[in-house]
C-alpha cells in the first residue's frame, strides 16, 4: 500500500523539471508517451515489479513446485534425467496410509500444544513480572533473550548432553537428591522423550513470547490501572479485568505465530532424538525430512510437507481473520 504514493512522488518530480526548465521542449515528448496517466500507471507497475517478482520467485514458485512434486514420483533419478512421472494421489495414499502417519500427527499436536501452552504461560508470567521496574530489570530482561540467540544446533547438542541418561547433569543432580533412586531416560524412553523435547522447545520459545507480550503490556496506559485501583481492582483482578482484555490482540498474534513456528520445528528434534527412540518424537516435519533427505523419496516428502502447509494455513487464516477484526474494531 505504500508503493503508489512513492510512485506518484517519483513521477511528479521527473515531470516537474522539464516543465519548469524548458516548457517548449517538454510538451512534444509528453505527447509521445501518450497520456500522463498511462505513464504514471506504468511507473507504478515498474515500482511494484521487483517486489512482485521477488514474491513470485521465492514464495509462489517453491510452493507451487512443492504442490506439483507431491503428485510426482520424484527420486534421485529425477535429478539426472529430469523425468518425474505423474502418479496422481499415490504419494498422498502412501503417506497418509503409513502406520507412522497417525503417530506423527498425534506427536505434532502434542508437541505443538505442549510447547505453546508452556511458552505462553511462562512467557506471560515473566512479561508481567518485568512490568515493574526494579534494579537490573533491564539487564535481566535482555539476558532472557539468550536462548533465542543461541543457534538451534548448539542448543540441541548442549541439551542432549544435559539430558544424557548416565552422565547428564540433570540426572546427576537428581541422583544427589535424597531418597530418589531413579535415572530417567529422558531421551531413551518413549514416555519421556516427547516431554523432554517439548521442555527444551519451551525453553527456546519463552523469549519470543515474553518479548512480544512485554511490548503489548507497555501499550496499556498506566492510568487505567490507577483508575482501576481506585475502584478496588488490584493484583489478580487488575490482570483479569484490565490487562487481559487489552492484551487480547497481542495474545492472538503470539499464539498463532507460535503455532505456525512450532508446527515446523525440525532442528531441535533432529538434534535431540532424531525422531526416536522408536519414533516416539517423530512429527510431520521430521517425517517429511526423513522421506525427502534420507530415503530420497522427494515426492512423498513433498506430499507430507503439503499436509503440514495446509495445517499451517488454517492457523494463518485464523490469524488474518483475528487481525482484520482487530482493525475493524
Amino acid at each position: 500500500m505504500t508503493a503508489p504514493p512513492t510512485a506518484r512522488a517519483a513521477a511528479g518530480s521527473s515531470r516537474a523539471t522539464p516543465d519548469g526548465a524548458a516548457p517548449g521542449g517538454a510538451s512534444p515528448r509528453r505527447r509521445g508517451l501518450r497520456s500522463p496517466r498511462t505513464r504514471a500507471r506504468a511507473l507504478e507497475l515498474a515500482f511494484l515489479a521487483p517486489a512482485a517478482l521477488y514474491l513470485l520467485l521465492f514464495f509462489a514458485y517453491p510452493v507451487a513446485k512443492n504442490v506439483v512434486m507431491g503428485f510426482q514420483e520424484y527420486t534421485t533419478r529425477t535429478f539426472f534425467t529430469g523425468e518425474a512421472p505423474w502418479v496422481g494421489l499415490d504419494n498422498y495414499a502412501a503417506v497418509l496410509g503409513s502406520s507412522l502417519f497417525d503417530r506423527a500427527l498425534l506427536n505434532t499436536v502434542l508437541f505443538t500444544g505442549g510447547s505453546i501452552l508452556g511458552q505462553f504461560v511462562l512467557g506471560l508470567a515473566i512479561a508481567v513480572f518485568f512490568q515493574r521496574r526494579f534494579p537490573l530489570s533491564g539487564l535481566l530482561r535482555s539476558l532472557l533473550l539468550l536462548p533465542w540467540l543461541v543457534p538451534l544446533i548448539v542448543t540441541s547438542a548442549v541439551w542432549r548432553w544435559m539430558l544424557d541418561q548416565d552422565n547428564g547433569v540433570i540426572n546427576r543432580a537428581i541422583g544427589l537428591l535424597p531418597l530418589v533412586d531413579a535415572r530417567p531416560g529422558w531421551l531413551t524412553s518413549t514416555s519421556l522423550a516427547l516431554l523432554a523435547v517439548v521442555l527444551v522447545n519451551i525453553w527456546i520459545g519463552i523469549p519470543f513470547n515474553t518479548t512480544i507480550l512485554y511490548g503489548g503490556l507497555q501499550e496499556i496506559p498506566g492510568e487505567l490501572y490507577e483508575a482501576g485501583a481506585l475502584d478496588g481492582a488490584t493484583g489478580w483482578r487488575a490482570f483479569r479485568h484490565i490487562t487481559w482484555p487489552l492484551l487480547r490482540p497481542v495474545v492472538t498474534v503470539v499464539l498463532v505465530l507460535g503455532v505456525v513456528y512450532t508446527l515446523k520445528v525440525l532442528d531441535i528434534i533432529l538434534g535431540l532424538t532424531g525422531g526416536g527412540p522408536a519414533n516416539a518424537t517423530q512429527t510431520l516435519s521430521t517425517q517429511s525430512y526423513e522421506l525427502s533427505f534420507r530415503q530420497f523419496d522427494f515426492g512423498q516428502g513433498a506430499a507430507l510437507g503439503n499436509v503440514l502447509i495446509v495445517i499451517s494455513l488454517v492457523f494463518a487464516a485464523v490469524y488474518l481473520r483475528a487481525n482484520r477484526r482487530a482493525v475493524d474494531e
Binding site: T6, L53, L57, G82, D166, G274, F296
Partner: protein
C-alpha cells in the same frame, strides 16, 4: 513521509539488484536435460579434472590429496579437488546432476553407488576397459549395478570389538569370541558408573550397520528379516541392554558417541571401526586392543558388512575428459596406492593378494583384514531396495530395545509396516 519514501526506494533498489542474481542462479539449476552443458568448470587444453569426495578431515584429507595429485600428474592433468562434509555429499551430487555440473571424478560411499548409478549419472567403467579383477567379491558386487561395473574401491573397513586392556586385565576377562562370552564378559566388566559394552542402535543407517554382523553371522538375511536367526541376534542386543551390561542410551548414540563413551572409560568394550584409531590414539593412558566381533558360537564364521568408498566417472558428456578421469580412478586403485591408503588410514586393501603386505606395514588392521574374505556388501542382494530394508532393521531394533517388544514381533512388524 520523506524518510519512508527513501527507505522504500532503497529497498526497491536492493531488490532490483537481487533479482538478476537470483535469476542467474535459477538458470543454472533448471537447465534443460539435453546434456549439452558439457563438463562445466575447468576446460581449456591444460585440462583440469574436478574431483569430489568427502575426506574433509585429517589425516584422510591429506593422504588422499597426495594420492590424487600424483595420479593427476601421471595422467597429465591438473586436479581441482573439493572435499565436502560426509552428510552433504549426496545432496551435492543431486544438485550437480540436475545442473549438469557433475565432477569428472566422483567418490561415493559404497552403499550409495547403485542408487546413483540407477539414475544414469555414472559411466560404466567397461567403456574405458576397466575391470575389477583380483578384488574381493563383495566389494565388486557393491560397485556393480545391473551387471555393469561403475566404481572401483581401493580400500575397505568394517567394524570389530574394541576393548580397554587395563579394564579387562583388572577384571581378569579375556576378549570374548562368542556371543556367550560376550554377554558374560560384558556383565563382568559392568560396575557402578561403567558399562561392559557400548554399541550404536541409533535410528539411522548407522544403527543398521552395527547390527548387521550379528544378524548375518547368525544366518539372518535382509531380504526377509522376520526370521528366527535375525530375532536371535536382536535378542542378544536386548539382553545386553536389559541386563544393564550396555546403556539404554545405545538407542540414541551414533558411532562417534559410542567412541566417546569408550574413550572416556564409561564402557570397557565397544563395537566400532578403524576410523576411530586417530581419536583413540590421542587419548592419554588408553591402551586398547581390537578383535573380531564375537561369533554366535565357537567356530562360526563372522560375516560383517564392509564400508569404504568407491571411485566413479560421472557422465559429463565429454568423452576425452571421461577417459582421463577413468585413468585417474584406475590409478587411485593401483596396487601401490591401495597399500599406501590402507596403511596410512588403517583400512584394508580390497585385493586379497595385497592384504599381507598391508598388515605387515600396519599391524593394527589385522582384526579387520582377516574378515576380508567374508565381508558382505549391504547393497549386493537388494540393490536400490536396500534403504527400505535398512530402515526396517533399525526400526525393529529400536522397537525391541525401547518398547520391549518381542524381537520376532518387532522384526515382523517393521518389515510389514515400512
Amino acid at each position: 513521509m520523506v524518510r519512508r519514501g527513501t527507505s522504500h526506494r532503497a529497498l526497491t533498489a536492493a531488490l532490483a539488484l537481487g533479482v538478476p542474481l537470483a535469476l542467474a542462479g535459477c538458470g543454472g539449476g533448471d537447465q534443460a536435460v539435453g546434456g549439452s552443458g558439457g563438463g562445466g568448470g575447468g576446460g581449456g587444453d591444460g585440462t583440469t579434472l574436478r574431483v569430489l569426495d568427502y575426506y574433509n578431515n585429517e589425516p584422510d584429507k591429506t593422504v588422499f590429496q597426495d594420492v590424487i595429485d600424483a595420479c593427476g600428474e601421471a595422467a597429465g592433468v591438473a586436479i581441482e579437488r573439493e572435499a565436502v562434509p560426509g552428510n552433504d555429499l549426496i545432496s551435492t551430487v543431486l544438485q550437480q546432476s540436475s545442473s549438469r555440473t557433475l565432477p569428472d571424478v566422483l567418490m561415493l560411499d559404497n552403499p550409495d553407488l547403485q542408487e546413483i548409478a540407477a539414475s544414469g549419472a555414472l559411466a560404466p567403467l567397461s567403456q574405458f576397459g576397466i575391470t575389477a579383477e583380483g578384488y574381493a567379491d563383495g566389494v565388486v558386487e557393491a560397485s556393480t549395478y545391473d551387471g555393469e561395473l561403475y566404481g572401483l574401491q581401493p580400500v575397505t573397513n568394517t567394524i570389530a570389538l574394541f576393548y580397554n586392556e587395563a579394564l579387562l586385565a583388572e577384571a581378569g576377562v579375556e576378549p570374548p569370541t562368542t556371543w556367550e562370552e560376550l554377554e558374560s564378559a560384558a556383565a563382568a566388566l559392568t560396575t557402578g558408573d561403567r558399562y561392559g559394552l557400548a554399541f550404536s542402535a541409533i535410528n539411522t543407517y548407522e544403527g543398521t550397520w552395527q547390527f548387521l554382523p550379528f544378524m548375518w553371522s547368525n544366518g539372518g538375511d535382509e531380504s526377509d528379516i522376520a526370521t528366527p536367526e535375525t530375532a536371535e541376534a536382536l535378542q542378544l542386543w536386548v539382553d545386553l541392554v536389559s541386563s544393564g551390561s550396555a546403556s539404554q542410551s545405545v538407542v540414541n548414540w551414533s558411532q562417534a558417541d559410542v567412541n566417546d563413551q569408550f574413550a572416556a572409560g564409561n564402557a570397557a568394550m565397544q563395537i566400532n571401526g578403524p576410523w576411530q584409531f586417530p581419536v583413540l590414539d590421542a587419548v592419554d593412558g588408553l591402551d586398547y586392543g581390537v578383535v573380531q566381533i564375537p561369533a554366535p558360537s565357537a567356530g562360526d564364521t563372522v560375516v560383517a558388512p564392509f564400508g569404504g568408498e568407491t571411485w566413479t566417472v560421472p557422465q559429463t558428456g565429454d568423452a576425452d575428459r571421461q577417459a582421463l578421469a577413468a585413468q585417474v580412478v584406475q590409478c587411485i586403485n593401483d596396487d601401490d596406492n591401495m597399500v599406501t591408503l590402507a596403511t596410512e588410514r588403517g583400512t584394508v586393501p580390497t585385493k586379497p593378494a595385497l592384504v599381507d603386505a598391508a598388515v605387515e606395514a600396519q599391524p593394527a588392521i589385522e582384526p579387520f583384514a582377516e574378515q576380508l574374505p567374508d565381508l558382505r556388501s549391504r547393497t549386493g542382494e537388494l540393490g536400490e531396495e536396500w534403504p527400505t530394508a535398512a530402515t526396517a532393521i533399525y526400526t525393529a531394533v529400536q522397537d525391541a530395545l525401547v518398547n520391549g517388544t518381542d524381537p520376532a514381533e518387532a522384526l515382523a512388524a517393521a518389515q510389514s509396516g515400512s
